[in-house]
């Protein structure tokens, strides 16, 4: 619809036939298409579990190919994440009964350590595509998907339930169909949070990519060609030079995807901002400007318009986006009771079966053991948070309050936050081995390598959003030193710090699964902890212990969220919101 409202024929005539931007954009598209075509046969390569390679070649000349494979996996996971987000969030926001179930489920899914389930999903997907590497591909993509989807779904759900009331009413009075409402109101209205959270989740998902490309399951190690398995192979040989090369390529990938994909997306999503919440500065993107100046998007979009029209027509029978005004109360209540009863029966049955399974295999006492080692990991997470807070809050405040520094530092920290920390593990491990540091202490550092940046990142954002008149007032009234920190700076950044803290804690728990057992060359280091417990169970295919480990870790995470973070969050929202 972008070209409407004028005289297309004249516009076409006035436009030069081909300009350099058009050539540039077209060439880029062509290259992308070629890459995908070349890749397609490799995805379906023959694969037999017994003969499949455990390690990929560490020849650096393979790196471009591995980079493309890894990147394809990331985007292959992004697409189902977006689809899942749409379906799940709409169901949770629009179906009264579904909301009661879907929201708590999402809450739990967010806290469950995804890596713990890899062994289950890998086995399932290999059986789904027998004799083809596609199963392993799918398992890897699924692991990345689970790292992306929940956050995006939450963000989109909140945008749906916080839709301005008058826009909802306008859509209903206009009698938009369900399809029209979704594309004209729901999706555009949620575009900004969707893109932002997509970018953040994508950054976090690099970690899972690295962890899921090369994995030990059921006493076997599987490897898919990609950056993660390259690094894993280099680590297994203890070749720090090649790990260094992998880190360099990974940096290029992270920065490249940010510059070529997410930055343009963020800049583009600005058009969906409802003006009440005008942003202080508009994100810009050179790539987006180039695309906008070229005519390629329009040329590509024109043939798609009839498709859009047809879809609009076909979805009309689903009726307007309207719920009946009157519901028979009695039937409604009967339905509620039935729904709740069926659900309760299902949950109780499932829990009972799971407990019986554990009782028959590992024994229920194993839970006690898992909780005990969980306490060790919990201790590590606490130490990590305290130290990271003491170090990064002052640094973050300093960066955030100096606009010149923060303009330069913020993108750097963003890259650091999304850089997969598992690439850095061998360097840290080598140091631990040399210095004789036990992994029981060293694991804290490994977990912090990825998690700490969330605190720094959010503190910078908080400090740079303090209104300058407030800062000037504090300076004028000579509020300085300890008083300035206690009464002004810390309260002002508190809401941002809480957000960073939750994310960092979640990241640390997940990282414990790969950080409490590390291998470097012929060194095998193990720490006491829940992460090591899960990793060992995964490696030997001990399903009851995986179940126990993942359950206990979820309990720890959910309990910490409920007892600590959620309260801090409420406090931040009511008292310290600027």
């Amino acid at each position: 619809m972008a070209g409407e409202g004028g005289f297309p024929s004249r516009a076409v005539l006035r436009r030069p036939a081909l300009r350099w931007v058009d050539v540039l954009v077209a060439a880029a598209l062509l290259g992308l298409l070629y890459g995908l075509l070349r890749l397609a046969p490799a995805l379906n390569a023959p694969f037999l579990p017994d003969t499949a390679p455990s390690f990929v070649s560490t020849d650096p000349s393979n790196l471009p190919y591995y980079a493309v494979r890894s990147l394809t996996r990331m985007f292959a996971a992004l697409i189902p994440s977006v689809l899942f987000t749409f379906v799940y969030a709409i169901a949770a926001a629009r179906l009264r009964r579904a909301e009661k179930v879907l929201l708590p489920v999402l809450d739990i899914l967010q806290s469950v350590p995804v890596l713990g389930f890899l062994s289950v999903t890998v086995t399932a997907f290999i059986n789904l595509f027998p004799g083809s590497a596609l199963g392993l591909e799918c398992a890897s993509v699924f692991a990345i998907f689970t790292a992306m989807a929940w956050n995006m779904t939450f963000a989109f759900y909140y945008s749906l339930i916080s839709q301005p009331q008058e826009l909802d009413e306008a859509a209903r009075v206009m009698r938009l169909t369900k399809w029209q409402r979704f594309w004209r109101l729901d999706v555009p209205g949620g575009m900004i949070p969707l893109v932002w959270n997509g970018m953040m989740s994508f950054g976090g998902a690099w970690f899972f990519l690295a962890a899921s490309e090369s994995i030990s399951v059921l006493n076997r190690t599987y490897a898919l060609p990609g950056m993660g398995s390259y690094a894993a192979a280099a680590i297994a040989r203890g070749d720090l030079g090649k790990v260094g090369i992998a880190i360099g390529v990974m940096m290029v990938l992270v920065i490249g995807v940010n510059a070529l994909f997410w930055r343009p997306m963020v800049a583009w999503s600005e058009r969906f901002r409802v003006e009440e919440s005008e942003a202080a500065e508009h994100p810009r993107s050179v790539v987006l400007d180039t695309l906008r100046r070229s005519s390629v998007p329009e040329r590509l979009g024109r043939p798609l318009r009839p498709v859009g029209r047809a879809l609009d027509r076909w979805t009309r029978p689903f009726g307007p986006a309207e719920h009946p005004l009157f519901r028979p109360q009695k039937r409604e209540r009967t339905g509620d009771v039935f729904f709740a009863g069926a659900l309760a029966a299902l949950v109780i049955f499932g829990a009972w079966k799971a407990l019986a399974y554990v009782q028959d295999t590992a024994g229920l006492a194993e839970f006690g053991h898992a909780f005990a080692v969980g306490a060790a990991t919990f201790g590590r997470v606490v130490v990590l948070l305290v130290v990271a807070t003491l170090v990064w809050v002052p640094v973050g405040v300093w960066i955030g309050m100096n606009p010149r520094v923060s303009r330069f530092a913020q993108p750097v920290v963003q890259v650091l936050a999304s850089f997969p920390a598992n690439f850095l593990f061998p360097f840290a491990t080598a140091f631990f081995v040399l210095a004789g540091i036990p992994l029981n202490a060293g694991a804290i550092v490994l977990m912090a390598l990825g998690a700490q940046w969330y605190i720094l990142f959010n503190v910078i954002a908080g400090a740079s959003s303090i209104p300058s008149d407030l800062r000037e007032a504090m300076t004028l009234f000579r509020v300085g030193g300890r008083l300035r920190w206690r009464k002004f700076i810390l309260p002002a950044i508190f809401p941002y710090y809480v957000t960073g803290g939750i994310t960092a804690a979640g990241g640390a728990w997940n990282a414990s699964i790969v950080g409490e057992i590390v291998e470097y060359g012929h060194h095998h280091l193990t720490a006491t902890g829940l992460g090591a417990y899960i990793a060992q169970a995964t490696g030997t295919g001990d399903f009851p212990r995986i179940l126990i480990g993942v359950t206990v870790m979820s309990v720890y995470v959910v309990a910490a969220n409920r007892l600590l973070w959620r309260r801090l969050y409420r406090l931040a929202e009511t008292r310290y919101a600027l």
Binding site: E4, G5, P164, V173, M174, P188, D312, E322, P324, F326
Partner: protein, 466 residues
């Protein structure tokens, strides 16, 4: 200029005994609309007028089929509504345009919903855009337009579907005075010239002059719960002249209707037997002490007495702004209202003339004796040993007569008054009310001790209709 250019025709929308009750968290039914019946006919403009809390927007949404009435029915062309009303379009106070669509796309959207073919859609949208004076802006995004232009898009979007009834929810109140006036007169022009492709208009407003300026009939709603208080026919020819004595007389009449009942209730309850009025009978008007003092000063500057319509006009106040202040001054005995005129009392003169500490003392005495909720809080606090009480106690008691939000607002107003008068303080962190030292002596000296705790009515709300 012929009066009644259109004569009311067949009924389009009929509301019969529409009652809307919200259920409070503790299960109490709280009426917002109470048995309202009226009909919207072809060829007329009807205005729904009332104070805030009169439920006029709720009534409009019942008529639009956006919410279901608790009892009673709304019919469109004799068919009861089961969903959004198929024969109406709506214009919103906040415009409700989709910011990511251009003017033309916004206008076309409601046609697209009705499956109008693309070519016809464009033609009709351009026609509506021209009609409302937006030609040249077809490709603009709403955020590029001023408030007045945005509301024009809102009108175009409503008119383009040629609805039987155009529903308008305070369409001019988000605009500045001049823009609103301009848009109003254009609307009258379209209506009189039979250019607007609508058969009737229902407009919700809290601006009395706007109602009299536009409507053939003005329906006045009373507050808490909203019920039909009066119906006035406006038979002046359009365009109407605000300085016409007949126009001014009508405006004064409406002011009289809107202030009359409250004044009568207060006259009966407040000044003579203060111990009997309860917070449920006599809700606190949501007015700040600053606004109240300002009104008295203006009144004093105007010689101590003036018409409400004149004050509202000069200050550019709408009744939602002015009437709570007026009600508050009357409640505290600082002013009296009769025949839509407000006059300052001796008490009011003293309050205004005094220095800040003395005027605070005045205010404390008046609030603690005449404002039922403030008095109830002070009495409750005095009765405790340590002079503190949880806010929850008062909120629970208030919820018997008010919605949760209203109860909160009542308490907030009382806290504002109590803090200003240094009667009690409030700690937002733990939600406790604390008695100020001066309040104990004040209460003992000015009023005889009456019972122990605060008194509240058992039933709901502030009495029946008029």
């Amino acid at each position: 200029m012929t009066a009644g250019a259109r004569s009311p025709g067949p009924v389009i929308i009929e509301a019969e005994h529409v009652t809307k009750t919200f259920i409070t968290p503790d299960g109490q039914a709280l009426p917002v609309l109470d048995g309202i019946s009226f009909a919207l006919r072809e060829g007329e403009i009807v205005a729904l007028l009332g104070k805030s809390g009169a439920g006029k927007s709720t009534l409009l949404r019942c008529i639009a089929g956006l919410i279901a009435p608790s009892a009673g029915t709304v019919t469109y062309r004799d068919t009861p509504l089961t969903g959004a009303n198929p024969g109406v379009a709506m214009v919103f106070q906040s415009f409700a345009l989709l910011p990511w669509l251009t003017v033309q796309q916004n206008v076309e959207l409601s046609l697209q919903a009705r499956n109008v073919p693309e070519a016809e859609r464009r033609e009709r949208a351009l026609k509506a855009i021209d009609l409302i004076g937006l030609d040249g802006f077809e490709g603009a995004y709403p955020k590029e337009l001023s408030g007045g232009m945005r509301q024009r898009v809102g009108f175009a979007r409503g008119l383009v579907v040629e609805p039987d009834a155009l529903l308008m929810d305070e369409p001019f109140s988000a605009l500045d005075v001049l823009t609103a006036e301009n848009l109003r007169s254009e609307l009258v022009g379209l209506w009189e010239g039979h250019d607007a492709p609508v058969k009737s208009i229902l407009i919700v407003t809290h601006n009395i002059e706007e109602a009299v300026l536009l409507a053939d009939r003005v329906l006045v709603l009373s507050s808490n719960p909203g019920s039909l208080q009066a119906e006035l026919a406006v038979e002046l020819p359009r365009p109407r002249d605000r300085t016409d004595p007949a126009f001014e007389a009508l405006v004064d009449t409406v002011y009289g209707i809107l202030t009359g009942r409250e004044a009568a209730v207060q006259a009966a309850a407040a000044p003579t037997v203060p111990a009997l009025a309860t917070p449920g009978d006599l809700p606190l008007p949501e007015a700040s002490v600053g606004g109240l003092a300002g009104l008295l000063e203006i009144l004093l500057a105007r010689g101590g007495e003036d018409g409400l319509a004149e004050i509202a006009d000069d200050l550019n106040f709408e009744i939602d702004d002015l009437l709570p202040l007026v009600d508050a001054t009357v409640l505290l005995g600082l002013a009296t209202v009769a025949d839509a005129r407000i006059a300052i009392t001796e008490e009011g003169r003293e309050f205004t003339a005094a220095d800040i500490l003395t005027s605070k003392e005045h205010f404390a005495r008046l609030a603690a004796t005449r404002a039922p909720l403030v008095r109830a809080i002070v009495q409750g606090l005095v009765a405790t040993e340590d002079g503190t009480l949880r806010e929850g106690l008062f909120l629970d008691l208030l919820r018997r007569g008010f919605s949760a939000e209203q109860a909160r607002n009542q308490l907030e107003t009382a806290i504002g008054w109590g803090r200003y008068g240094e009667l009690f303080d409030y700690n937002r962190d733990d939600g406790r009310l604390l008695l100020e030292p001066g309040a104990r002596t004040l209460l003992q000296s000015s009023a005889e001790p009456s019972g122990s705790g605060p008194e509240f009515p058992g039933g709901s709300g502030s009495g029946g209709g008029c």
